[in-house]
């Protein structure tokens, strides 16, 4: 009974934090750029680059370009879920509230990832505009399921990045250089088979890679076994990143409560 009450409280905190983040993000020019403008520009470029406009190519570009928006906002907005509080001077208060810090950050990143899914809607609509007809998703059921798993997979990844950026400001300064490497390693707009073999393990540890593989497979009518495998890998990465997140947040709270150095830049 006590656990159920606690779960309800956590859910409420997640929803409230998500709502606050959504409201903030709606007026943020960079968020608008990341989830609408940039993916649409990349999609437009890819449409014009297309050698022959087969339906599989179009849906591949729609999904891949949408995923670039998802990653860009996860990196720049989700990554600053904690450091943003430090800049606005609210981190100390957030750490001192009875609601656990990681629950608040889950709410914030969940809002960010859900909002970023509109990148895919934007590129889908653009494809309809450019080609005069909306592209077809070959396995809509599997696509919906993969999309459902993509959300926690990205949230779990953001939950690693956000505390890392706070604990290591030097890593955060490399943020601008991290956007395209993940586009490349995750195979958003080309298969990772085009990359040298030594980069493959790097792709495997990225949840966006498994999300892209599952979504590309489902949208282009790929093998169901491969889609299932990719979704299983997403679940595994959620578990592993969840455990890592717990350690990182313990470190943050230690810095805040014992060392009192959390708000130092």
């Amino acid at each position: 009974m006590k656990r159920l009450t606690q779960l309800r409280r956590h859910l409420r905190v997640i929803l409230v934090a998500a709502e606050m983040s959504l409201r903030n993000n709606l007026t943020d020019g960079f968020v608008i750029f990341g989830i609408v403008i940039q993916p649409m520009i990349i999609a437009l470029m890819a449409f014009w680059m297309l050698r022959d406009q087969g339906p599989d190519d179009i849906i591949y570009i729609v999904v891949g370009s949408g995923m670039t928006g998802l990653w860009t906002t996860t990196l720049f907005i989700g990554g600053q879920a904690i450091s943003g509080e430090r800049w606005t001077g609210t981190l100390e208060m957030l750490v001192a509230t009875p609601a656990p810090l990681h629950i608040v950050v889950i709410g914030k990143t969940l809002a960010n990832v859900l909002q970023s899914l509109s990148a895919m809607v934007a590129t889908y609509a653009l494809a309809g505009l450019v080609f005069g007809a909306l592209p077809t998703i070959a396995r809509p059921g599997w696509f919906a399921l993969a999309l459902l798993l993509t959300v926690p997979a990205y949230v779990s990844f953001a939950l690693i990045i956000a505390p890392l950026f706070v604990l290591n400001p030097e890593v955060r300064r490399l943020q601008n250089g991290l956007e395209f490497p993940v586009y490349i390693l995750s195979g958003f707009l080309f298969p990772i088979a085009l990359l040298p073999g030594w980069t493959t393990p790097l792709s495997y540890i990225l949840p966006p890679y498994w999300a892209a593989r599952a979504l590309h497979g489902a949208s282009s009518g790929g093998d169901v076994a491969d889609i299932l495998f990719s979704m299983a890998m997403m679940m595994l990465s959620i578990l592993i990143y969840g455990l890592l997140t717990a350690r990182l947040f313990r470190r943050i709270l230690y810095k805040a409560r014992v060392e009192a150095t959390l708000v130092r830049q």
Partner: protein, 270 residues
């Protein structure tokens, strides 16, 4: 005559001091790792991304098209972001009011903001071409290198012209980074860095013809392919004129915003 020379000396000093200080001011918040990630490491990754995307989506297996296009696109990092941030940085830093209150020559002040970024941009393009040589084996054996250097300089100048204009927008809007980012990504498409200009729809080709980079990228591709400076002369003149036109529009906007801001007392209103 003596007075004229004194004024000229003063304006030259304002130009270089403003150039140096506004560039230095960016490093109050941009630290070396940030600079390296953005200007040195960043371009190599977007170059790799577009080379592979081109190979898969467009079926083009010659990386030099994308390597040259994206190396030249690096000019816009300094030209668009650096220059515009130097202009609107005065507003955010609270120094705009003093700047407009000073009797300093406005043209020297305004153009001075671009000077260091042009040098920095040339350096950035050279680094990006170096990545192209190292990773994709870009062949420069047929290239007239001084002509390529001139092309790079003119292209960076041209993007800086656009940056000066965008910086002025930063004086009247809060969302200048949204504008800058959008322009930077649009340049990837419309400048011909990643898509052949000839394969764009008519309206997009019209856009290409009035933006910086388009002619600079075309000239760089021709020069690396073995053409002479004389052959790319018209393209370089065109690129220079486009940049000069944007800078002139930017200066007119700068003067106009100054007059409006002083009249309305909204110089630092956000």
């Amino acid at each position: 005559m003596k007075e004229l020379l004194r004024d000229l000396g003063l304006n030259v000093r304002i130009f270089f001091q403003g150039a140096y200080l506004s560039y230095l001011a960016l490093f109050a918040w941009i630290r070396p790792p940030h600079y390296i990630a953005t200007k040195v490491v960043g371009p190599v990754f977007y170059m790799i991304f577009f080379v592979l995307m081109g190979a898969y989506v467009a079926g083009r297996n010659d990386p030099s098209f994308y390597v040259i296009g994206n190396a030249m696109q690096t000019a816009a990092l300094s030209g668009v972001f650096g220059v515009s941030m130097s202009i609107d940085g005065d507003r955010w830093g609270g120094t705009l009011i003093y700047l407009f209150g000073s009797p300093a020559n406005r043209l020297a002040l305004f153009l001075g903001r671009a000077f260091m970024h042009i040098l920095d941009g040339v350096f950035g393009v050279i680094i990006a071409l170096g990545w192209g040589l190292l990773i994709f084996g870009l062949d420069l054996s047929q290239t007239h290198l001084p002509a390529l250097a001139l092309t790079i300089l003119i292209t960076v100048f041209s993007t800086a012209g656009m940056g000066l204009m965008l910086g002025c927008l930063g004086l009247i809007t809060r969302n200048v980074m949204l504008v800058n980012n959008t322009i930077f990504f649009l340049l990837f498409v419309f400048s011909g860095a990643n898509v052949e200009i000839g394969s764009l729809p008519g309206w997009a080709q019209a856009v290409s013809s009035i933006i910086p980079l388009t002619r600079g990228i075309a000239a760089a591709r021709l020069l690396i392919g073995g053409e002479s400076l004389a052959a790319v002369g018209p393209l370089l003149w065109g690129e220079f004129l486009v940049g000069a036109a944007y800078a002139a529009i930017g200066f007119l906007m700068f003067r106009q915003f100054e007059i409006i801001a002083i009249r309305r007392g909204t110089l630092e209103a956000f």
